[in-house]
């Protein structure tokens, strides 16, 4: 088994790349990044391993924070609480995890598994279950694979510890843990249902931590050289430039615990006469140009600051911002009929047949 050392500079890049893969949601990884800087200063280190190096019988802990990003901005993120969610799961199941992985590479949860890994001295498996961020817990490759949705642990920093022993479906898992999370104050450190090495190898979305680091590194190097950071992203990822414009309106509404809405952009440069609208449910879901859908989930729609190349989130996008919209290819697992049932446009209430911007 080969373990690769992760440097703090890799993690700086990971934070930038994970925010871009958050496709508008997942929360800004700044606070997890601060935690990692502090942990590295104190001598903690993290290593990365490939899923292929897992034994079939190995067990892997799946780490994620759940809750409202706004609450996270006040209560911050404690690395020990995340580690406790994992060790609680080990106590409950009797497993000793060979490695930890993230539920979603997109947003702050793309960095948080490293916080637990640093304390618990386990490697990070270079895979996740979304390849981006999605709003709901059943929107994962392991749910598409029909893998067991239990047990789950949820921990609050004040010593509140919950174990959800068994649920019949992923939807139930989402509902029950969401309730616990609300009681905790709308934030909880969770360990998602553990996976076997064989499951991770079959159903994980692989290489995503490395991918986020590569994207982040490209952006940071372009910023340093005063080059175009968006061209730099498209240099390391087979993405497509969709649109350049300025934000002219953002309408938001909270429904069923999600932030839904529409951002409207007026075009610049080659798109001067075209209007883009992007519908979001925490994450960017469908993008239209002049009313015609041109990109939709599971394609990754990334809205980037045209100057810095860094991600613009659906919670923070605002009037007047200059943004560039690109698409990145979706994980293959979501392109099957079952995958599209979980995360295709109809899973978000759009009566559209999925058509990838990469399919032509």
């Amino acid at each position: 088994m080969s373990l690769r050392d992760v440097t703090i500079d890799d993690i700086e890049s990971l934070a930038v790349g994970a925010w871009i893969l958050g496709t508008g949601g997942g929360g800004n990884p700044y606070l997890p990044l601060l935690n990692m800087r502090a942990l590295y200063r104190d001598g903690y280190r993290v290593q990365l391993m490939d899923a292929a190096d897992l034994g079939d019988e190995d067990r892997v802990g799946v780490v994620a924070n759940m809750g409202a990003p706004l609450v996270g901005q006040e209560r911050l993120t404690d690395s020990l609480t995340l580690a406790r969610a994992v060790s609680l799961m080990e106590e409950h199941t009797g497993y000793r995890f060979a490695g930890l992985m993230g539920m979603e590479i997109g947003g702050a949860n793309g960095v948080r598994p490293l916080m637990a890994a640093a304390h618990l001295k386990r490697p990070i498996v270079d895979s996740d279950t979304m390849g981006r961020a999605y709003p709901e817990a059943q929107m994962t490759s392991v749910a598409v694979g029909g893998l067991t949705p239990w047990p789950l642990t949820a921990v609050d920093v004040r010593g509140l510890e919950s174990v959800v022993g068994r649920v019949p479906t992923w939807k139930w898992a989402e509902r029950v843990v969401r309730k616990i999370c609300v009681e905790y104050g709308s934030v909880a450190a969770t360990c998602q249902p553990p996976r076997t090495g064989a499951e991770v190898k079959q159903w994980g979305i692989h290489g995503t931590t490395t991918k986020a680091m590569a994207i982040g590194r490209a952006v940071r190097e372009a910023q340093r050289r005063h080059d175009d950071p968006i061209a730099a992203i498209l240099g390391v990822e087979p993405g497509k430039l969709l649109y350049k414009g300025k934000v002219v309106d953002v309408a938001r509404r909270a429904t069923e615990g999600f932030l839904r809405g529409v951002a409207r952009l007026d075009g610049l440069d080659a798109w001067r006469d075209a209007t883009m609208t992007i519908n979001f449910q925490n994450e960017w879901i469908v993008a239209f140009i002049d009313g015609k859908p041109i990109a939709m989930s599971p394609d990754l729609i990334c809205v980037l600051d045209s100057v810095s190349g860094e991600a613009v989130g659906s919670e923070t996008i605002r009037y007047g911002q200059r943004v560039t919209v690109i698409a990145l290819p979706p994980p293959a697992v979501f392109l099957s009929p079952s995958g599209l049932d979980h995360v295709g446009p109809r899973a978000f209430g759009y009566d559209l047949d999925f058509r990838s911007v990469f399919s032509s």
Binding site: L31, L34, L70, R75, R322
Partner: protein
């Protein structure tokens, strides 16, 4: 209404007298090392014609870069005791955790973290550990620290823990100046706490500076209340500015834009403020600068201040000019313009020399720049115009041509026609736009918090009431209050009808 506006800049102290809405007189004096001298000097020039001898002055409004410069230049800062109420949460990210190390070394007097704080819905996060606060206060006293910054989880929603802790600390260290993060606004513990720490670090400087301002006004014989201008183009009474100096960080640029709006009579336009070294481009909406919505770094520290969204480029009246290949700025002779420029007998070619050579300005000795031919001057002006055009285009938020107001001492660099601009407006007294902006400043109040189980409109009403009360507390006349910004955002994941509302109101300074 008679008001005096003063802008204490790095080079000049500008002062204007405004009477019944008109600029009666505008003067410039060199900024002095001791602050007081420059202000006194400019007040004396303003009153030289006997203008101030009769009739009352309703207020002296001063804008200054003292506080931000202290942070940027790491000088005159007070050591701060940081007290955070929020344990056991947030322990891994203590106060100062994202500060540049050099600044943290200067300011960090000690860090204490105790149990306390609230939830997003007003429930207790943890009861306040008063015994621990008392222990912390005793240690602060022993350490000889005189400035304390208190922060608490979700204190913008419920400041009671911060206020109680402040009482306890004041009981033990009565001479301490205490900053509560809830007085500095928004959601986001680290950024709000950073604002509190910076504010506490400025405690001594704020006291001394404002005392110096008051002395200068007193020495000039003017009996008028002192107001200090703030980042958002409004003023605070001297007492509040002494308590919350961070709100007066970026007032220079804001005052210029507000002054530009006033002098031109336009409330929606682009503004270009061309100084000696840099040019700031911003956008006026409803007569106020459009604010940056994102995190603003001050001296390397992340904060969430209300700051105008500005683009600064290295172009000004003192910019170095290189003729082959043609380049303008970013280097500048700055305040040495009248010594180092060629037209003034120096050796550095500047944009002002070009303006003198082409007859745009009548300064210095035109013969010294006679070697610059018309074609050369035209090319330099074209380059300056290109730089301005690019900056304007980057800051525009709507397609189509917009009016542009050109102010500042270097406004001669802005031509009467620019692509993307419907018309360029040069205004009388435009070189003192910042002092004019200070003179006309209003008082604001802001509310930014989460409301639960209310209709959206009720929540906005509740927020407006809080903002109105805060504006009145800051010195506004309640009758003149108007809402200038209202934004509401429903909160994903939170149960019930949770909505975060931000409302900002402004009003005229209350008379007497």
């Amino acid at each position: 209404m008679r008001r005096i506006g003063i802008d204490v800049g790095g080079t000049n102290t500008d002062a204007v007298l405004i009477e019944q809405g008109k600029v009666v007189r505008a003067v410039k004096a060199p900024t002095s090392e001791d602050v007081t001298g420059g202000i006194l000097d400019s007040l004396q020039r303003l009153g030289a014609t006997g203008l101030l001898n009769n009739g009352r002055v309703d207020g002296v409004m001063i804008g200054t870069t003292h506080f931000i410069n202290a942070v940027v230049q790491r000088r005159q800062l007070t050591k701060v005791a940081a007290l955070r109420l929020g344990m056991p949460a947030s322990a891994s990210l203590p106060p100062f955790c994202d500060w540049p190390e050099d600044l943290a070394q200067l300011v960090r007097g000690g860090v204490w973290m105790v149990e306390g704080g609230h939830e997003y819905d007003g429930r207790l996060f943890m009861p306040l550990d008063e015994a621990a606060v008392v222990r912390a206060a005793l240690e602060v006293k022993t350490a000889g620290l005189k400035s304390v910054a208190i922060s608490s989880i979700f204190s913008p929603l419920d400041p009671s823990h911060e206020k109680r802790a402040a009482e306890l600390v004041a009981g033990i260290v009565p001479e301490a100046s205490i900053t509560c993060s809830s007085d500095l606004g928004r959601i986001g513990l680290l950024e709000r706490e950073n604002a509190g720490l910076l504010n506490a670090a400025l405690a001594d400087l704020a006291r001394d500076t404002i005392a110096a301002f008051e002395k200068a006004i007193g020495d000039s014989g003017i009996a008028a209340p002192l107001f200090i201008t703030q980042n958002d183009g409004t003023v605070a009474e001297a007492g509040q500015a002494r308590r919350l100096p961070v709100y007066s960080f970026a007032s220079g640029a804001t005052n210029s834009m507000r002054g530009a709006a006033y002098l031109s009579g336009l409330s929606d336009a682009m503004v270009i403020d061309v100084g000696g070294t840099t040019t700031d481009v911003g956008q006026l909406r409803n007569g106020f600068p459009r604010e940056a919505n994102s995190v603003v770094k001050v001296g390397g520290v992340r904060t969430l201040f209300r700051m105008p969204d500005l683009l600064s480029i290295g172009l000004g009246g003192g910019s170095h000019v290189v003729l082959d290949p043609l380049a303008v700025g970013p280097l500048s002779v700055g305040y040495r313009l009248l010594k180092d420029g060629i037209a003034f007998g120096g050796s550095q070619l500047t944009t002002t020399d070009i303006a003198v050579a082409s007859g745009v300005l009548d300064l210095g000795d035109r013969r010294k720049v006679a070697y610059l031919d018309g074609e050369t001057c035209r090319k330099v002006f074209a380059e300056a115009a290109r730089m301005a055009e690019e900056a304007i285009d980057r800051m525009k938020t709507e397609a189509g041509d917009v009016p542009l107001i050109a102010v500042g001492g270097g406004a001669f660099l802005i031509p009467d026609r620019l692509p993307g601009v419907s018309r360029v407006i040069h205004v009388e007294h435009g070189d003192c736009a910042n002092a004019v902006g200070a003179a006309i400043a209003q008082v604001s109040g802001e509310c930014d918090q989460i409301f639960k189980d209310m209709t959206r409109l009720d929540a906005i009403d509740a927020a407006r009431t809080i903002a109105n009360d805060r504006a009145v507390a800051a010195g506004a006349d309640r009758e003149t209050l108007a809402t200038i910004d209202s934004e509401d955002m429903p909160l994903a994941y939170l149960p019930g009808n949770s909505v975060r509302v931000r409302v900002r109101v402004v009003g005229d300074v209350a008379a007497g």
